[in-house]
């Protein structure tokens, strides 16, 4: 638990620093989707590990499929939306610079 808390804290800190450094614009709903996706991911990892510890055969796979898939989808959306917007903004900036130049 403590280790997971540490890792989560470090990951969140790294993410915020990265976003600020690259000047990426992240909307509130993208944060929300990201948090949901991350929550699902933690839930999946915890349950898969608990099920695997208990020598269950089917349960880890079901947890992966049932909670892991939506977590991945949400995380991809949360990353993709700001990235596409950021890329679009950069392109526009480059086009404008070329037009001026």
């Amino acid at each position: 638990m403590f280790l997971i808390g540490m890792l989560v804290g470090m990951a969140v800190l790294g993410l915020v620093l990265f976003i600020n450094h690259r000047n990426i614009d992240v909307r509130w709903y993208e944060w929300l989707i990201g948090v949901l996706g991350f929550g699902f991911l933690l839930f999946t990892i915890q349950n898969v590990m608990a099920a695997a510890e208990g020598y269950w055969e089917t349960a880890p796979l079901v947890f992966l499929w049932l909670f892991g898939t939506p977590s991945l989808v949400l995380l991809i959306i949360a990353v993709l939306l700001p990235w596409l917007r950021h890329r679009g903004k950069n392109r526009k900036g480059t086009v404008a610079e070329n037009a001026q130049g």
Binding site: M1, G5, A50, A51, V62
Partner: protein, 478 residues
């Protein structure tokens, strides 16, 4: 240390100094300390490395009273209620002769002597055949574990207690005095130390007294009378009316073994539980004696009165489709015991965690019971299936003679219903805790949770041989 200095000052009448040192006496438990450091997780990890059974270690009675172990700890989704979720008609409910149950005369009365002999003969033949075949879960090493633990499963405990410890009179001091709340915390702390998992208290009145049997497991008549002292003779036991509080408690079973029921090796967890209850009782009775009070126990597990009845009324768990209580923390994987005392205690209330509503929908135990014993009806009933049950509780009822017949024929105590119950699942899974929390609040997802349980493949394990590859925690307590 500071506490001792404080005590020394207090004895000499230096109240100010006693207070000064007394206030340094830490009432913070180890767990609180770790929490305060934000290291709860690390603390849990360290606790798992602790020797033997992770029993809390106390230095003195103050620590017992202030310990977090001493409080009534329940998950946040456990709701206390005034009446149990299983309806009881106290006018209809009467004291019951234990001799009527299957383990005494009930089986023979229901099925006849010839049938009983036949079932036992089949059991013996099956045992020999499976041992020779080396059937998984029924090999010689499984049988050895089953018989080894069964041989000490029902140790002779004492109704009156062994009375070896000193009394306040013999020490020349007055007896312990505390409020019911303080006493309850103390009792819980001591009992946790001695191995109890969960503890509840039922106050006796004209209704709850009916939960005691008329005749005990060994046929002795149980009297509840206005007498000064408890008594036991060749054919009777007397509980004084002043003993108003029943302490009902659980001993954990091994979840890894429960899910492997009904194999011979898995039966060990049942027998170990039955041995650990009297172990606790013997010591606890002595503790209460030295405090200056009476504590009466079971002469053997399941004696004195109905464990499920007392457990449900005290809020240890809720009545289920299989007539056992389902506890919030460990589902069905517990054994239940009881003691009676005149030490004033604070009664605990019944609980509602949505178990009966879940049982109404689920029916997994009824569908999978190998002996087709468990009622599959949606609604509960007041009608009992035979003289081996007493009327007065609206519930589901098993057909006990069929159940015991299966036990006899397989040479096991079965327990398959324990293994398949979706509410008896590993605590380590956060999904399971979220599920219990949800079913305690709404019935809307009960069907979905049952289907999910099937999907997850949770429930009984049939690969009994995998038992021998496991690395078990102490007593198999996971």
């Amino acid at each position: 240390m500071n506490h001792l200095v404080s005590f020394a000052f207090e004895k000499r009448g230096h109240k100010a100094m006693a207070k000064k040192y007394g206030k340094y006496h830490s009432t913070m438990s180890r767990r609180d300390f770790m929490k305060a450091l934000g290291l709860g997780g690390a603390g849990l990890g360290m606790a798992s490395m602790a020797p033997v059974v992770n029993a809390p270690a106390y230095k003195d009675m103050d620590e017992v009273l202030s310990s977090s172990e001493a409080g009534l700890k329940r998950p946040s989704w456990v709701k206390e209620v005034d009446r149990p979720t299983a309806e009881i008609d106290w006018d209809l409910f009467e004291r019951f002769d234990y001799g009527e149950v299957m383990f005494v005369r009930g089986f023979e009365k229901a099925m006849g002597e010839t049938y009983v002999r036949w079932a036992s003969q089949v059991g013996r033949e099956n045992t020999t055949r499976w041992l020779r075949q080396g059937k998984p879960g029924f090999t010689l090493r499984d049988y050895a574990l089953d018989r080894g633990t069964a041989s000490h499963a029902f140790p002779a405990a004492s109704f009156l207690g062994h009375r070896r410890s000193p009394t306040p009179a013999s020490l020349g001091v007055s007896r312990w005095e505390g409020t019911p709340e303080e006493n309850s915390r103390m009792v819980r702390g001591i009992m946790r130390l001695l191995g109890a998992d969960d503890i509840a208290i039922v106050e006796l009145d004209e209704n709850t007294e009916k939960l005691f049997y008329t005749f005990d497991t060994d046929g002795k008549k149980i009297n509840i009378e206005h007498v000064t002292n408890p008594d036991e003779g060749e054919d009777y036991r007397t509980i004084p009316k002043r003993c108003r509080w029943v302490i009902v408690y659980t001993i954990k079973m091994s979840y890894e073994l429960v899910r492997r029921l009904p194999s011979w090796s898995a039966g060990a967890t049942t027998y170990l539980g039955y041995a650990q209850g009297p172990f606790l009782q013997d010591r606890f009775q002595e503790v209460i004696r030295t405090l200056g009070y009476t504590c009466l126990g079971e002469s053997r597990p399941n004696a004195l009165g109905t464990s499920t009845g007392f457990g449900v009324l005290g809020g240890l768990g809720e009545m289920s489709r299989i007539e056992h209580q389902i506890t919030p923390k460990r589902g069905l994987s517990v054994r239940v015991f009881k003691m009676v005392t005149d030490l004033p205690l604070e009664p605990t209330k019944p609980i509602n965690t949505g178990v009966m509503d879940f049982c109404r929908t689920c029916k997994k135990c009824a569908e999978l019971c190998p002996a087709n014993v468990i009622s599959s009806s949606t609604e509960t009933t007041w009608e009992v299936p035979g003289p081996y049950k007493r009327p007065g509780v609206r519930s589901w009822f098993k057909i006990d003679p069929r159940c015991i017949s299966y036990w006899r024929q397989t040479g096991t105590a079965c327990g398959f219903c324990f293994a398949v119950c979706p509410l008896t699942r590993p605590q380590s899974s956060s999904y399971f805790n979220a599920m219990r929390s949800t079913i305690s609040r709404t019935t809307a997802f009960n069907g979905a949770f049952r289907r999910m349980d099937d999907m997850l493949g949770w429930g009984a394990r049939k690969d009994y041989e995998s038992f021998w590859d496991l690395e078990f925690p102490v007593y198999g307590w996971d």
